[in-house]
Assembly symmetry: C2
Homo-oligomer: 287 residues x 2
Amino acid sequence: MRRIPAYVWLNGKVVQSTRAQVSVFDRGLLYGDGLFETVRAYRGRVFALKEHLERMGHSARALGYRLPRLDWEKGLRRLLAANGLLATDASVRITVTRGTAPPGLLPPPRPSPTVFAFALPVPPNLARDQRRGIAAACVPFSRLRALAAHKLLDYMPAITARRLAAQAKAQEAIYTDRGQILEATTANVFCVRGGALFTPPLDGALPGVTRQVVVELARAAGIAVHEQPLLVDEAESADEIFLTSSVVEVLPVVRLNGRTVGTGSPGPITRQLQRDYRQFVDQAPRG
Amino acid sequence: MRRIPAYVWLNGKVVQSTRAQVSVFDRGLLYGDGLFETVRAYRGRVFALKEHLERMGHSARALGYRLPRLDWEKGLRRLLAANGLLATDASVRITVTRGTAPPGLLPPPRPSPTVFAFALPVPPNLARDQRRGIAAACVPFSRLRALAAHKLLDYMPAITARRLAAQAKAQEAIYTDRGQILEATTANVFCVRGGALFTPPLDGALPGVTRQVVVELARAAGIAVHEQPLLVDEAESADEIFLTSSVVEVLPVVRLNGRTVGTGSPGPITRQLQRDYRQFVDQAPRG
């Protein structure tokens, strides 16, 4: 049962959710003109916050604005505390919009961004999905590739893709363009073929923080990693497939487009990277 | 100088803009999960409101929700009055989101939509642009074609396209896909070739209310109208090009991709349809 969490972090203050409001002239609402990040908090420790804020700041600058200066770490910790999530695993969604401005397609010259964040317990089925794997289905469209580097607010492509996936009895959808795998709606995609990892390049995929960690962990473990265009056909005949994101971490895909992937169970390289990722998270410094 | 208007119509009430706020858990803000319409008000008379609300209602149903029952006509008239716009020409943007719900990609089973509208005077340069025509530039991407029928909140493709157009010294951008013209960022596209009108079919373009009116006016004037795929090459060599939307009505394009269109001035069919459209608006019943 999904619920609205009790407290929100809004423009630097923890406030009750009933009071967490933004102007109808916020450009995030009027035009989808904003960015978000989802980070994981492991018993109150927010993992890789710096990397997520760097990506968000990079996108904001590319789009012509800047993140406000805030004590993000302290703010998110107070948010977790207010919602009783310090002792458990949670996901935290951070949203930054270009802020409130007079209406008009072109952005204002001096934007004053809106920032808010909320935290939720991790989905109850996640541990089971990580152990058993999920089904995924390819959809014949993608987010706008010219903006694929940015984690923009608009999730209608994702909602549409997930709905099509659900019709195909799959939990996650993978965007494709002219027969090439790009990314999943909320994760990056990896395949294992002949003992090596393959993942699509970043011209049509979000530069995932978890994607980068997994690439580095794989290389440290002596596994070759190839960032190169990946055809749907190649994915369908791969030995293993997995998805990466802050929330799902390393999530096996055991069915793709109705076909069994490999043996139908999470493969050895996927399981190794799941262990390595958890170990990396456990050893990472705070913040 | 753009300004935030003084009053907003929010969930059935006219309120001061400073008090017009929505929850940060509104799905319009979190996911771009909402729709909008822009209608014209001619001295307090809202034109074709019924058609706009029908389109919006159709999209909402296709996406799994319904527009709330409101006295839209009376509400918008009170909005115009509160903002001192009864005696002038204005544009009114109506926004409907799927409303506030617990976070999650999949929509809630029983949504409670948020509705708000604001009104602005028409842009001061519009009359000049209608008389002289504007420059447009094609961009090699489009909105998500699977959702092209719906006027969704996400305007990042439009903002990106307009930015590229501005770099090419053009005021408006035209989305294309594999060499085919689809639509402009805020308008439909028509070409005149050999005395006939050509406009792209609706599999990649918004079903514009003004587009439909113009098709009917043209046919009533004995001008053939062909809804068929339109190549960029064909548009570049057209005798006339114009855009249609509630705000710009019939807007001549006199330069496309840096090339002069026809004689470089608005052509005879464009000018005739501008006159016919204004006459149709003047004679239309209220509401």
